[in-house]
């Protein structure tokens, strides 16, 4: 129950942070996806079931905020969270550098998953700009390292 409240609090914080970024720092808001950061944090620190639940919840919240297909971000984040969680069970991802790499990989995986989903759903595919994608990966990586450091300090 405690973890549920923690998860809800984390989701609320990510939603609020993303909303504020998009509202007041749009350029930075396009380069950071705090929902992905939150899901990957769960992936490297929690069990896979928790990761998937967080991925679904965070994705649905993002879908509601961005008015895309309801379920698109949830699908991406659930799948990527699961894969990254599986990866975390094989490798040590507790250090900042590996986590940075995982966040970049997760960002790219989300983009690929979205492209596949768009094709599966029979929609017109528009590939994301590679530089935008790169900036998003870097932004997520940096935001992740900062966020995880902040959280570790709060826990300590």
């Amino acid at each position: 129950m405690k973890s549920l409240w923690r998860g809800a609090a984390g989701l609320l914080a990510a939603t609020a942070g993303q909303f504020l970024l998009v509202r007041y720092l749009p350029a930075l808001g396009r380069s950071v996806d705090l929902f992905t950061v939150l899901v990957i944090f769960y992936a490297v620190t929690r069990r896979r079931i928790g990761v998937m639940m967080m991925g679904t919840a965070a994705g649905l919240t993002e879908d509601l905020l961005t008015h895309t297909f309801l379920g698109m971000n949830a699908f991406k984040k659930t799948l990527v969270g699961y894969l990254m969680g599986t990866l975390g069970s094989f490798f040590m991802l507790s250090q900042p550098i590996p986590r940075f790499g995982v966040l970049i990989v997760a960002t790219f995986l989300e983009a690929v998953t979205e492209a596949v989903l768009v094709l599966v759903l029979g929609q017109h595919l528009v590939l994301p700009n590679s530089s935008d994608l790169l900036w998003l990966g870097l932004g997520n990586g940096i935001a992740g390292i900062l966020g995880y450091w902040l959280i570790s300090k709060m826990v300590d």
């Binding site: 998937m52 679904t56 297909f69 379920g71 699908f75 989903l117 759903l121 929609q123």
Partner: protein, 281 residues
């Protein structure tokens, strides 16, 4: 290596979540036909299933119907067999009537062609004792039949009446050894006496060895015996051999098939006494 259910739980949950999300997305995507992708997918997935189930249900219903139908089939089969038997019997009777009708028509034609009045009679029985050949016909004195009246059919001479009852008469057939008919060759007009020889046919006697007779010559009645009128067909010359007393041995094959006699005509003499019902000129 097989994993236990708790180990598989995350993966199963992943599949469940992703499937649910996929369904959620599909329900929002519209296809060109105006239906959602979910509806289309469901239709494509469930269509064959529903068709299969429907087909199976139809087959089961068909089986049940067949079973129910089979319950009545035995009784129906018996009834149909009975009816088929009756129809076959009727068919045979019909065929018999048809053949009889043909024979009677031929007899009627012959009757019309006769110069003298005649009387149609049914052959009731054929007698065969030793070489003797007789027939019993269904006409007697009350029909005007008298002794020595000639009996014919459309092929030619059958015989003559030798005994008469009130309703039946006995006919001595042409092939009876005691039968004798005055004959004449149609081609050469040579005369002789045709005598019966049982199943072997007839023999023509008293024909001079000088007579020009050939196989195939037709022999008809000459009328000299005062019984048969002149010109009735007796038969065809089957063989001609030299005899030992200045005569020829001539074998004749009768035109009438004596094994298949069913209806005949009794030729009535104009001076016949008694009733002459069904007599036509």
């Amino acid at each position: 290596m097989n994993k236990s259910l708790p180990e598989r739980r995350p993966f199963l949950l992943l599949v469940l979540l992703l499937s649910s999300l996929l369904v959620l997305m599909s329900s929002q995507v519209r296809t060109g036909r105006g239906t959602s992708l979910l509806e289309d997918s469901l239709l494509n997935v469930t269509g064959p299933l529903v068709r299969g189930v429907s087909g199976s249900a139809g087959s089961m219903a068909g089986l049940w119907t067949s079973y129910v139908d089979l319950r009545g089939v035995r009784a129906q089969n018996l009834e149909l067999r009975y009816r088929l038997g009756r129809l076959e019997e009727q068919g045979r009777e019909g065929e018999e009537f048809r053949r009889e009708n043909l024979r009677l028509r031929e007899l009627l034609d012959l009757k019309r062609a006769q110069e003298f009045p005649s009387l149609a009679a049914e052959v009731l029985a054929l007698g065969s004792v030793g070489q003797s050949r007789t027939a019993l016909i269904g006409r007697g004195t009350r029909d005007g039949v008298r002794r020595d009246m000639p009996v014919v059919n459309r092929h030619g001479v059958v015989g003559r009446v030798i005994a008469v009852g009130e309703r039946v008469a006995k006919v001595q057939l042409l092939i009876d050894p005691n039968s004798g008919v005055a004959g004449i060759f149609q081609r050469t007009r040579g005369q002789g006496m045709v005598v019966g020889m049982g199943d072997r046919g007839c023999r023509m006697e008293y024909v001079s060895e000088l007579e020009n007779v050939e196989v195939g010559d037709v022999v008809v009645t000459s009328g000299l015996d005062q019984i048969y009128p002149k010109g009735l067909t007796i038969g065809v010359v089957m063989s001609v051999e030299e005899g030992d007393q200045l005569t020829k041995n001539i074998m004749i094959r009768p035109e009438v098939d004596f094994r298949r006699l069913e209806e005949v005509l009794v030729r009535l003499n104009p001076e016949t006494e008694g009733p002459q019902r069904e007599v036509s000129p």
